[in-house]
Point group: C2
Chain length 196, copies 2
Amino acid sequence: MRGEFTGEPVPSDVLDRVLGAAHAAPSVGLTQPWDFVLVRDRGIRREFRDHVHEQRAEFAATLSGERSSTFSGIKIEGILESSLGVVVSYDAGRGAPAVLGRHSIADAGLYSVCLAIQNLWLAATAEGLGLGWVSFYREEFLSRLLGIPDGVRPVAWLCLGPVSHLEDTPDLERRGWRRRRPLADVVHHDRWGAQG
Amino acid sequence: MRGEFTGEPVPSDVLDRVLGAAHAAPSVGLTQPWDFVLVRDRGIRREFRDHVHEQRAEFAATLSGERSSTFSGIKIEGILESSLGVVVSYDAGRGAPAVLGRHSIADAGLYSVCLAIQNLWLAATAEGLGLGWVSFYREEFLSRLLGIPDGVRPVAWLCLGPVSHLEDTPDLERRGWRRRRPLADVVHHDRWGAQG
């Protein structure tokens, strides 16, 4: 939906429901280790967009031939066109040191943040909003831009807002970048590689 | 719901819908980098449960006083009581080397796997099933147990199955481990720490 943002504001009750769904996600040790920075300021968004374009160019330089021309036709962000950016971050210090469930797997807190992001995404879709996850940025750049403190890691910049319409097929499939695979290819039984 | 699993089988059409929801999650570069190992074998599950109990004891040893006694009353897994385990893993090689959107952020693929997990969780809940994420294990142990190849990382063991009932309040809140925080505490405007 990156090409379909209208830029109209998101009504505050709708935004509250979307953020409320994110905040209701399960989390390791019930730490709720996420934060949401709502970025509407156009100056900040413009700086971020310029940085993303640099990162895009870096990636484009790694491609050749057909991949390169396919990629050049893909819109990777709607930072200025969307109504706002929602930056979701991970605070590893929340509930620390004894986080129940993070003793064996350090990344478990980061996983919780992603569960919140998917709740946010689904709630946004249910409200008829479009959402695009931008991951063409350096974390240090975004932290500096928003004043995110040490110990907190930005996980996503989500472009959010009303759209002219929602597509049924993923952008990257429509643009010929990659096709989806059948579910049966990724299901195993009892042990890796075993069919049911 | 870890104490409420009935152990009854999950009908195959229900399981297909739950896995189908997971597989429909968005993913970086449309790589769909997840796999699902469905573990019903009781011998494998018993081995995993024993390992989890060791990890639990390690964590318990880091606690003292009141925290220690609160933790001792919390059931952290339903590995044998649930109908099956769903092990979700991350294959960093899928779609590599030129994964669109993973150039700047190496963990973006791992994030996609978590989006699939949250879809799975919500679909399971919608089907009236219980789900408990077990994170008290060493990744190497689980990889060896299931024969997960190098380059693929286990992300979660999900206990799944019918339950006697679903609770409204998170287990850890009911057991006095930790309380949820208000959404307003984690929302910032334009810059970290700024109120709207």
